[in-house]
Symmetry: D3
Subunit: 238 residues, 6 copies
């Protein structure tokens, strides 16, 4: 029995709210149960130095948690003077995942930055961030098209992500914090709309896992991501 009474293969209630804030070219609040991540996409008409003159654009991400998004207050990274290893690891994952969505040359020499800020954390913030950021990216590209700055969309793939894990010996989908903090194995899976794998990051937290468990987790993730892809498309259709 899961703490939330969900079935092993059941997602939490998912909501992706577009236009959550006003200034960004794309702004999506991604809610996976009590996890709430604000994903904004910002367009800037410049690229990092190593891409200047190449005709290629860039997609990158930054991740942060509000100090009291968590049960215990965390020190503010801006005040400590650096981003922690977990933060950097997550924002690198988000950036790589979203770059897999687009043809960077078709974007042209501009940068889209996906800021994923956790307002409230209850497990699965990085996968909620990726799922929401893809919608924000679409909205930013739509804005570029409406503004006449881009004729065709550079987006080639739909991207969504979910966490899976082994909790009390059972593979479960979309772990909340109560499950995540007690899980034996924890895995984040990013896939595209064609069913291709983009990232698989599995970690044995307490016990090693088997190929059999890995496959069961991937099955769960695949089914979960399929539902998320539908929600993303419905959100964009509104």
């Amino acid at each position: 029995m899961r703490p939330s009474n969900r079935r092993p293969d059941q997602l939490r209630p998912i909501t992706l709210t577009r236009g959550y804030t006003r200034h960004a070219e794309g702004s999506v609040l991604a809610q996976f149960g009590d996890t709430r991540v604000l994903c904004t996409a910002s367009v800037e008409e410049r690229v990092p130095p190593w891409l200047r003159g190449t005709g290629s654009g860039w997609i990158t991400a930054e991740y942060g948690m509000l100090p009291r998004s968590t049960g215990e207050r965390m020190a503010r990274e801006a005040a400590r003077g650096k981003q922690g290893g977990r933060t950097l690891e997550i924002q690198r994952l988000i950036g790589r995942s979203l770059r897999a969505a687009a043809d960077l040359h078709a974007l042209g020499e501009r940068t889209i930055t996906l800021d994923c800020d956790v307002l409230q954390a209850d497990g699965g913030t990085r996968t909620a961030a990726i799922t929401g950021a893809w919608v924000a990216l679409c909205d930013a590209v739509g804005r570029l098209q409406r503004d006449g700055r881009l004729a065709d969309s550079p987006i080639r793939h739909q991207i969504a992500a979910v966490s899976v894990g082994v909790f009390e010996s059972t593979p479960v989908l979309d772990l909340d914090y109560a499950e995540d903090s007690a899980a034996e194995t924890d895995m984040n899976v990013v896939m595209n709309g064609a069913g291709g794998l983009i990232e698989v990051q599995g970690t044995a937290e307490r016990l090693a896992f088997t190929r059999h468990e890995l496959n069961a987790l991937l099955d769960l993730a695949e089914a979960g991501i399929e539902q998320l892809l539908v929600i993303q498309r419905e959100t964009l259709a509104d």
Copy 2:
């Protein structure tokens, strides 16, 4: 004529939403028109080194803006490795203002940290932060009382704040960004529930101001803060 069509002495629509996030002892979304600041109050059972053993508690504040809370994306302070001067100046103001609300000895040797994070900026973020943080502080104290950790409330004064300024030669209340960026004079006023002044920070942005203008601005601020005090009390009464 103000860009927002408000009268010179008219506040923007104000909403203070309690319990906006789940983990913090106090969590208030302060909305002043399009300005939205999430104010959380976190209780920790320890004090800074210089207060250990004195019997006194501490109230402090931290302020941040999400990178895309503004029209142009701002660099993330955590990534740049330090908080800017404006950020430090604002969080010092918020901290001082909220310490004026309470008897720190009556709080006991614990710290309440007020995190004020701007989700969306449209002028007046620091005064919205102070006004919201006072409600979050009350909620955190209420939680301490309900948990039996504190018998009597250490809160002695109600605290609210508003910005005023001279815009196109006219003193106006509660400036939004369009006004703020063009104002000749800009002033932030913090007052308590008894009508006492806590902070007055006036700056000539383009032209020096006169004692007469200063008084007109303080009159506007006083009237505005009176309304904010009512809204705070109504919010807490819900």
Copy 3:
């Protein structure tokens, strides 16, 4: 009775010594009683990136305290690896105040940096810094004119500053450290030579203050600044 036996409206002995050091285009030691601040003005023939090509110059300030300018040794900010919030707040105030002295376009695309370093602190360092920096700024502009780099002076206003506060229930002018550390209210006032207000920063340290007290403090400040303006002009006339 003030600790220094001064009348409530009495300044400390004020001395502004020009040419205190040799290298800077302007170099003034500002002494307000035992407070001694070395104010240097340095001219550089470049502007910050955001002003390049605009024809506008820039005036900025940096503030520091020598580690043993105070009663207890303070940690050296260079060794701690960052400037504290108080330092940044003060140097922002000095910079804004001095920019109010000049027409930045008339300065041309160059930067004047006012370094205000406290050799000995006894209260009122930021207002002494502003008062001395204005004289250093004039000397630097004079040098530019003598060198033929500038035909007409871009200085439009005389700028001086003083602190006032409520000490043992009495409004007093130009607080020394003994008064400042015990004051109920503390206010820094910056004015120009025409009697216009540039900055008013009042803080209730122990008790809220009234509009009546605010006015009494501003009256004191106005009278004190008038004397400082005379001293500045006499210093420049030497």
Copy 4:
């Protein structure tokens, strides 16, 4: 055909040299072809604050690359003032992997730090680091036992790691830099001596990958790690 002429399932020549430096309790040079990583294990009789008094020890890792371990000189992280995201990500992976080797309570309240410094890089530095660090950890534990500081070894599992990837549409084992920089998919796999999975980190570099490819890569990794486990045991038996 692989650039190195190896078969798809062929490891590079592997050497683990114990006692490579003199001071550390364990010191192993791990060579995977031209990749050379110096792995030292240092014992300190203290634990991080959050473990004090719990009876539990700690195993952690730090990773670095010498500036000219690579084809182009990289900026020295100590001089830049921070460790990059890739560095932090890798050292977190090494630390987690090695903690999976031991019973931290059986270690007692002491810390073993595994410093993995890349002297020469040619792909697969993180997996070489993990494979070498496990041997260094064993040597450090052996030293503790010989010194009478520890009766029984806290090591419960053998740990080794290898990289696999899809290069020119073919799954291959133990990629060198020429392959790694052109790979379509890149995966790092950490396993224990019982065949359990500890970490699986797969990334689509150019193209999404399929479950089929994932399984082919895991098969290769499993076979490669089996060989590495033998080499580790032989190295320790010397």
Copy 5:
């Protein structure tokens, strides 16, 4: 001919002004011609962690240059966020030199920090700092004795320093900036009152130097330091 018309073996006018600032236990302005360094000695009743409980005290130094102590404005180290290599090298030299003056056990478990801040630079700031800091150290020890905190002085040696160098093929004493920036060889020498060498730091700036030149420079330094030792004693006798 030296730019200053001095003889090769002639010091600049030297003044050591005690009690230059009010708060520090020792405060000396050291002037070597146009070089002016404020040296303060601060006593703190604690020692660094590695000396706690050993009965030994500590003497250390910090060095800084005001941004416009030099011909061109230097960036403020506090603003840049770190002390440069030259600063650290100099403050390590000053600290070592002054520790050679005292018996740290006789000082007891307290720290004396020598802050050497350059108000105006014209060559030889580090040697002026050492020479002035020794007098400030004596004054701080005198204060401890007068306050009854210390019965006997822990000072065992008089310490002074001077720069020498080869300028236009001639060995000269106490180089000013014009000489220093053109010198072929530059050497700083620290000696004690008994004629013992404490530090010799010679650098070939343009040409290698010979043993013969080294000896000529040391002869000059010895004679110069003898004069400085007299000036120090006369200063303390006032």
Copy 6:
């Protein structure tokens, strides 16, 4: 009797191994007994900003110690976020010494960076670094010549360095850690192939030293450096 049973004027076994790593234009492992420093020379076709357009090249150095190169593990400087004073002092010394080897204009507008990383420390790391770096510099220049990027070598002088010191009242050559940590005086000497002095840095660690001792130490250094110069030439001749 020296702890190593060496005669006072005896060097430790010295080995300079060229081509120790593969990527760098020059790569030398310098071994002085148990001290092992990896010295790489990296060529970059750019110069620091202040040399652009001057036709002059640049030679610079960076120094680091692996955390467990020492008896006790040292904190990793990259993790602490800054290089310590000792590190900066040493890398400045190495850089200055190697610049004395070459005509920077003859190098052309390119930079050679000498990274000296201590794999194992047993005293004398900075002098081993200089001695090894000179050979690495030669190899890098040789590579530039073979690649046709440079017609004539810009190297004008051979450079080598050794430490000397007074240990148990006896001047000794090439101190190991056991001697270094107990020495009364410690001196580092850098000379060129023509017998000219480049750097002399002598420090009284416990007792002041005399001119007589200084001369005895320089005699020892001279004789030691002569042997090192031979070893360098033999190494290059291989």
